[in-house]
Each structure stands twice: as C-alpha cells, then as structure tokens.
C-alpha cells in the first residue's frame, strides 16, 4: 500500500471519536444547512408550491396549461438556443485566447489577463447598458441594426463569459507539460495534429468544465437579456420575472421555475463530472517552463488575430464606448452626467440620489460578503474532508452539489420567495422584510457557491500528509486547521471575498424584488433610470454604470493582488 493506503477505506473497527470534535463538525455542517434551508430552500419551495396547490390540494394542471401555450415553447427554445450559441462562441473564441494569454509570453501579459476578466465581474445591468449604448440607433454600431436583436444578446453573453473559458482553460494550459506535445512533434506530427491529438484531449476536461459553466450562466442570464431583449426576446428567467411582476401569474412562474431547475441540474451534473475529471492528476509543470515567447508573425498569427479581434472589438469597444458616452451630453463633452448622480434624476425618477444608492450598494455588499464567507467557508471546509467511511464520502458529495444549487435557481424566484415567506420567518414574529437584512441575505445566497468554488480547490490541493505531519508533531485537529489549512487557504479566501463582494455589488435579480425605494442599490437604480424617459436620465444611467463598473473592477483588482501567484489559487472561475 505504501503511502497510498490512506485513500482507501479500512474495514477495521472505527476508532473512538472525541465528542468535542464530532460536535464541531456537526456545527460546521448545521450552520450552512440552516442558512440555505431558511433562506433558499424554504422560500423557493413555498413559491413553487403556490403554483401547484389550489384550494389545499395538489394541482398539476398548471404544467399542461403552461406547456400548451406557444409562448412557453418559444421562451424555452430561445433560452436553450441563445445558451447553446453563447457557449459555442465563448469556447471557440476562448481557446485561442487561453493559448495567447496563458501559454505564450509577451510584455503586458498580466494586464491583458486582468483586462479580459473585467467583463465577468461587471454587473449584468452594466453589460446590458454598455451593449445597448453601442448598438442603439445613433450609437457607433447603430448601422448594424442589432438593437433589441437576438444577435446582440448572444454577443453580450460571449462578452460576459469569454473570460470564464480563457481563465479555466488557460489555467490548466499554462501548467501542462509541453514535453508531451514535443514528443508528438518529434514523432512526425504537424503542429495542428499535435494540438488536436495531444494537447486538446489533455485540455478536454477544462474545456468541458468551462463550457458547462458558461451554459449555466447563459441559460440563467437575466439582467443582460432584460435590458437588451426588449419585448421580443427573453429567457426562462426573464419570463418568470414578467409572469410574477407584470401578470401576477404565480402558477406559470412556478412551472417555469421547475423547468429552469431541470435545465440547471443538467448543466451542473455535466460541470461536476468534468470537474472531477479535471481534479485527477495531469502531467503538470511550472508555468515558467511551459510558456514560450509569442511569435506574432509565425505559428501564433491566427490565435493572436482572433484574440486581438475579440479583446478589441468585443470587450474593449463596449467598455470604452460606455465610458465615452457617459461623458457626452446634448451640450457636448461634460461631466454633467456625473454631477447629476447627486440628484434623484429628471422628474424625480428615483427616491434616492445615485450616490446614496452607491452607499447602499457598498453597505449591503459588505454584510452579504461576511455572510457568504462564513457560510461558504464552512461548506468548503466540510466538503474538502475525505472521511474513511463510504457513506460519509457520499454525504459530502451530496452536500457539495446542494450548495451549488443557488447558482442555478432563478434569483428572481429566490427574491419573490423571500417576499412571501420572510414576513414571519419560521413563525417568529420578526418581519425580516423591513429589517434591511433581506437584500444582503439574498445576495449572500447567490455568492455562496462562488466562495465555495474558490476556496475548495485550494483546500483540496493541500497534501493530506502535511496535516499528518502536523498531527505527529503534536498538533490537535483544531490546531492543524489553524496552522496548516488556515495559512494556506487564506489567500484564496481573499479572492473569495473579492468575488463575493463583486457579485453582491452587481446582483440584480433578487435585489430588484427586495430593495425598497429608499434602499435601492446601484444596479436597481440604473435599471430604473434607463426605463424612464429623458436624455438626462439615460446619461445618468451611463455614468452610474461607469461608477458601478469601476467599483467592481477595483474590488477584483484588490482581490487579485491578494491572491498572488500561488498555483491553484485561481479557483475554478
């Protein structure tokens, strides 16, 4: 067995356990479960049940009714179609990007890597506004006639998810031992053949993992579609929003929530499979040895050209255009749009000034981050353990999947579920809806899976023998956590804080339901501003989007700084 034995489970009689330890682990499992149960499972289940329970009896006729309308099928078709197209394009464009940005070496590389990550953390509403301002009649690309078109939505989805593919695939590619490809070349394979037969199969799991995540993000896209799709295009998620808020048709909304859950569960299963495969050992080497200088006029011309077009046209152009347009007013170049952020908009479009909304955003995001880090950190800690008993390992796999669910359940469903359940949480007479805590809690629910996925790989990558070495040196299990796991995971925790904060800042789906007018956050305010008439309001929306984008980018930049160059610290996004 020599050294590998510990991975298997012994048939031996169980060792007696110290009760304190068992209690601590039970607590570590119970706290996140209680949080998720109260603030996710219960509201969502209640909302879905409302659609299926009529006069106290289960009534599934809603399914037949909803599925008999052509609108439903059109929405489902649109959702799957735009998600498929968005995913395919992201992968096709992302692989050359991963090659150029992670496998090659050129000056300014770090900047460009960070730059392509910016869209992923941009709030969906901002992305919507940025594309809209580009494609709208009179905008720089207005002549393409893509405003309120299907193509615009797909392009925005690619803009958003390009970095997911580049980072996931690039992170692996960077450390892939180049000697396997060199061996193929020496055996007579052309560069293309060596790539296709050696490198691509090795990257396969990372590509599959990225693709399923992108599909998930595309299929549940809300803010982007709501802003860009107009009335003609939508996804299941926007339809749930329309049915609940505009038509008050809870039954249809409930049926659609179930449909979305099925789609999401499918995508998550594929993602999970791909991830497990990825965690298996590959022949990895250090990044310095694998990278080679970029040959812009030689073999790297094609991937470089693709990447330049994507980074320039798809990423830089919308962001740059947003910035430029925010500085334009009917009277010419000025900072008026930014000055107006201190007002409540033309014809009092808002109840608070945009700066007050920014304050609200920062406050709620801070609370949400604390909640998400505590809950997500505990989940990651529990899930990173490998118990000897098979039942224990199964339970941990289950726990892992359960905490991924909030990624896929419509944030709109969560938000609406909060409204109808949390007036009397668990029968306690404490109306959470007026406490101001609802928004951060909802945002934390959305951020928890990201925290888990960022911290977990780092905890899993710690050699179990390191903990064993500490134990033989007299460290109790608690001390091992504090002196081995803690210091090694703390940097990834920094990145997790950044992610959680950025996601909370940009969260729109649930927040749009829960934020009261005086506690509106930036995304809510931006959405309200573009919905109101008036050049002044539109200009303010652009300026507010720039402010929100700058806030998020700053947070991510700080978090990346914290991360450093530790391998595995990149998490899975």
């Amino acid at each position: 067995m020599d050294g590998h034995g510990h991975r298997l489970s012994p048939t031996a009689p169980r060792r007696r356990r110290v009760p304190v330890r068992a209690l601590a682990w039970a607590g570590a499992v119970a706290v996140p479960l209680a949080f998720l149960g109260l603030f996710f499972a219960w509201p969502v289940a209640t909302l879905v049940a409302r659609g299926f329970v009529a006069d106290g009896a289960l009534d599934l006729s809603g399914f037949a009714e909803v599925f008999s309308t052509p609108r439903t099928w059109r929405i489902i078709g649109l959702t799957l179609w735009q998600a498929t197209l968005g995913t395919a394009l992201s992968v096709l464009l992302g692989i050359p990007g991963a090659y150029v940005l992670y496998r090659c070496r050129f000056p300014g590389q770090r900047f460009w890597r960070a730059f392509v990550t910016v869209p992923f953390v941009l709030p969906t509403v901002v992305v919507g506004v940025a594309f809209r301002s580009l494609l709208v009649e009179g905008g720089p690309l207005g002549f393409l006639g893509l405003d309120e078109s299907f193509a615009a939505i797909v392009l925005a989805l690619v803009f958003f998810n390009y970095s997911v593919v580049v980072r996931t695939v690039g992170g692996l590619w960077e450390r892939l031992d180049p000697r396997a490809e060199e061996a193929a070349r020496a055996l007579g394979a052309t560069p293309w053949r060596a790539f296709r037969t050696v490198t691509l199969p090795a990257l396969g799991p990372a590509v599959a993992s990225a693709a399923s995540l992108v599909f998930l993000f595309c299929a549940t896209a809300f803010g982007v579609v709501l802003v860009l799709g107009g009335i003609r295009y939508g996804t299941i998620e926007t339809e749930i929003w329309i049915q609940t808020t505009q038509f008050l048709d809870l039954r249809t909304a409930a049926v659609l929530s179930v449909v979305q859950l099925v789609v999401v569960a499918g995508a998550l299963t594929v993602a999970n499979r791909a991830r497990t495969r990825r965690e298996r050992a590959l022949n990895l080497s250090s990044a310095e040895r694998s990278a080679r200088p970029l040959r812009p006029f030689g073999a790297d011309a094609l991937p470089l050209a693709v990447t330049v077009v994507v980074v320039g046209g798809l990423i830089a152009l919308p962001i740059g255009n947003l910035l430029v347009r925010s500085l334009r007013t009917p009277a010419g170049w000025s900072l008026d749009n930014y000055r107006n952020l201190g007002t409540t908009g033309g014809r009092n479009a808002l109840s608070v000034t945009v700066w007050e909304a920014a304050g609200n955003s920062l406050r709620t995001a801070a609370v949400a981050t604390v909640l998400a880090i505590v809950v997500g950190g505990l989940v990651a800690l529990v899930v990173s353990r490998r118990p000897r008993a098979r039942a224990g390992r199964r339970a941990i796999t289950l726990l892992d999947s359960v905490f991924m669910l909030p990624l896929g359940v419509s944030a709109v469903t969560v938000g609406f579920g909060f409204l109808i359940t949390l007036d009397r949480p668990l029968g306690i007479d404490w109306d959470l809806r007026t406490s101001g805590l609802l928004v951060p809690i909802a945002q934390a629910v959305v951020a928890v899976p990201l925290v888990v996925r960022t911290v977990l790989p780092v905890l899993r990558a710690i050699d179990p023998r390191l903990r064993e070495a500490a134990a033989t040196l007299g460290a109790s299990p608690g001390r091992v956590l504090a002196t081995v796991d803690g210091p090694l995971a703390v940097r990834s925790l920094g990145l997790a804080v950044g992610f959680a904060f950025a996601v909370s800042l940009g969260e729109f789906g649930a927040t749009s339901f829960l934020a009261r007018p005086d506690t509106a956050t930036l995304p809510v305010v931006i959405f309200r501003l573009i919905g109101r008439p008036g050049v002044e309001n539109y200009g303010m929306a652009l300026a507010a989007s720039v402010v929100l984008a700058a806030l998020t980018a700053t947070v991510m930049l700080l978090a990346e700084r914290l991360r450093g160059d530790r391998p595995g610290g990149a998490g899975e996004f």
């Binding site: 020599d2 510990h6 048939t11 031996a12 098979r390 033989t472």
Partner: protein, 365 residues
C-alpha cells in the same frame, strides 16, 4: 536487548491492517496490507523495516503512528496500549519521503512547529531549533524559505523538525528514497549519526538494504504483509532465515547443498547454498588455459558460461554471465573479475567461474 528495555519501547502484537471493501456483514472484500505482524523496538534502538514496495511496511508504520486503524492486534508503547490514542497525543515523530515541509513557514518555523504545539517558551524554542539545525548540518539556515532548499536540504529540515519535540519514537517512511544515489548514501550515514546522537528510538522504513544496514541496529524483513526475519544487519546477511529473505538481500542463485564443488558442511542436510553478489569470480583467461594442468594457485573452475555484458564499478569489473550452474540449471549471474584482459570482457566470450565460499551462505531450503 534485555527484556526490561524492550518493554520501555514499542511492541507490535499480531497487527492486521486492511484497506478498502466495506463489504456487507463484515465480509472482507478489501486487501490485507499487514497480516499479523509482531515485533519490538527497544528504547534507543533503530529498527529498519525492509521490504519490496507494496509489502505493507508503510502501512505498518502508519498504523504505529495512528494514521491507520488496526483491524486486529495491538500496539503498545512503554507498556501502554495505544488503541484510541489519537495521532497528536502519541508523541511519535513521522518523517515522509518528500519531507512534507510546511510551505508557508521558513526553515526555523518548520523545525519549531512541534515545539510551539507543545507550548515551549520562545527562548527554549530558539535554542532547540539552533541545536537541531546543527545536528543535521544546516546551521544558519533558519530564515531560509522552503522553496530555496535542495531536495537533500529539505530532508534534513524534515529530520530536524521531527526530532525537535523529543519524540518518544521516530517513524521514518522512506525518507531518502526521493534523493539521488550519492546523496542517499551520504544522508543515510548522517541520519544514523543524528539518531544515535539524540538517542532516539526509531522505526525506519526502506526498500533499500544498503540503507537499512547503514541506519539500523536491527533489520526486519517484510514481504506480502508478513514479517520474515528480524536480525542485526551482519546476522541477517550471514544467515538469512529463508530463500525469500536471501533473494531480497541480493543473493543471486541457490544450489542444493552437496553439489560437487561446494564447500562441505557436515550437519546441513537439506540446506541450500545461497550465492551472494560477490560469491562468484571470473577466472583469469590465463588460469582458464592452464586448467587441467598443474595447480596455478587460483581457485578451481566450478562452472562455465558466456559473457553477456560487463561494467566497471567501484574498482572491480562485474561481468554478467549466462551459465549452467551445477544443481541450479541455466541462469544469468553476475561474477566479479579482478583482472581486465586486453579488450575487456567481450560479449560472447567463454569464461570459467569459480565459487568463493566467503561470498556464500547457507539457508534452509
């Protein structure tokens, strides 16, 4: 070792370690890594567990450390049963093949780790770290980052780290196997020196018999989960308890006792003559030619063979020969040559082999 001393050390009794197969109703569907092993390590003694990879020696070591549960049997230290005592309360040190140094601490931080968990005062920690770095030959390395160390230096730090908290027993799991040959030999001597200098009781797992002989007072040979023999290095070498042990130590061929040309030993009926790595010599060609004539002083030829290859190593030529040994049949063996004919020992050349009784021993068949 005296009985009293043995009870102050480690005692392993009928230990069984199993993996895998949580079969229904206790049916064992897994593998048995350690199958009823008993052994003792006296206080201050260094015992090497020697065996091929996969023989269960590391599993036994992990069981002693408390990292693997026992399926049966008991482990006691100083007369106290260790069942239910968690790893961190056993007071045993463990050193791994790759050191497993904490990457986020510097050299001194690693060595001090066990002292900090024990709550030793700061000044005492510092002086103990100094002392240990001296013992392993790394004085002045305290503030170095782990990433800047070579493989050999890392293992020295790992050794210092496990020795620092005065472990009652030090467990070493192939600590030198990841190093290259020259370094391994040098470090084996250094480990021996460090263990004796600190008077540490130790269990040393290795698959390399040279290493085991260098480091240990006694060597325990394991194979397929069972203990075959425990003896001091020279006793083990001189009198292997079985053919399997002899094979593992490097004895290359076995011929039945009493075959023509073997030294006669009266009360050894049924014994087998084990030919060691230095038990055969290639006879000089001159001697070969003079064979059948008057005695020329060299040993008489015992078998004939054809040269396959030859290498010059450590001052002697090792010639690989295909031969037909009396009583053992056709074999490929290595024989030593003290002379080098013009043009070396060419493959295909016919040579005569002589038996050197000093390089042979008897084992029960």
């Amino acid at each position: 070792m005296a009985e009293r001393e043995a009870t102050r050390g480690l005692a392993v009794r009928d230990v069984v370690v199993r993996y895998g197969g949580t079969g229904r109703r206790g049916r064992n569907t897994g593998t048995t890594a350690v199958d009823g092993v008993s052994l003792e390590v006296a206080a201050g003694e260094v015992l090497a567990l020697l065996g091929p990879s996969g023989c269960g020696k590391s599993s036994l070591l992990r069981a002693v450390a408390g990292l693997e549960p026992l399926a049966a049997g008991s482990i006691t230290f100083a007369g106290r049963d260790l069942a239910g005592v968690p790893v961190h309360r056993r007071g045993f040190g463990l050193m791994f093949q790759e050191g497993q140094l904490f990457p986020h601490r510097d050299v001194a931080g690693n060595v001090a780790y066990g002292l900090q968990t024990a709550g030793a005062p700061r000044a005492q920690q510092a002086s103990r770290v100094q002392e240990l770095l001296d013992v392993v030959g790394l004085a002045g390395y305290g503030s170095r980052a782990i990433a800047t160390l070579s493989g050999g230096e890392r293992q020295r730090v790992a050794l210092a780290r496990s020795l620092a908290p005065h472990p009652r027993l030090l467990l070493l799991d192939e600590p030198l196997s990841a190093l290259d040959r020259g370094l391994r030999e040098r470090l084996a001597t250094d480990v021996r020196a460090a263990l004796t200098a600190t008077g540490t009781t130790a269990l040393f797992v290795t698959h390399d018999h040279d290493e085991a002989f260098t480091v240990a007072d006694r060597v325990a040979v394991m194979d397929a989960g069972r203990l075959l023999q425990v003896a001091a290095p020279e006793d083990l070498w001189r009198a292997p308890a079985s053919r399997r042990v002899a094979e593992f130590l490097g004895y290359q061929a076995f011929v039945p006792s009493g075959v023509a040309g073997t030294p006669v030993a009266p009360e050894s009926d049924g014994d087998v003559l084990a030919i060691g790595p230095q038990g055969l010599r290639v006879q000089d060609r001159a001697e070969d030619r003079s064979e059948g004539r008057a005695e020329t002083g060299g040993p008489s030829p015992w078998a004939r063979g054809v040269v396959v290859s030859s290498v010059f190593r450590r001052g002697a030529t090792e010639v690989t020969v295909d031969t037909d040994l009396p009583g053992a049949g056709e074999r490929r063996v290595v024989a030593l040559a003290t002379t080098l004919p013009d043009g070396g020992w060419q493959p295909g050349a016919h040579v005569a082999l002589a038996l050197d009784p000093a390089g042979c021993t008897r084992v029960p068949s």
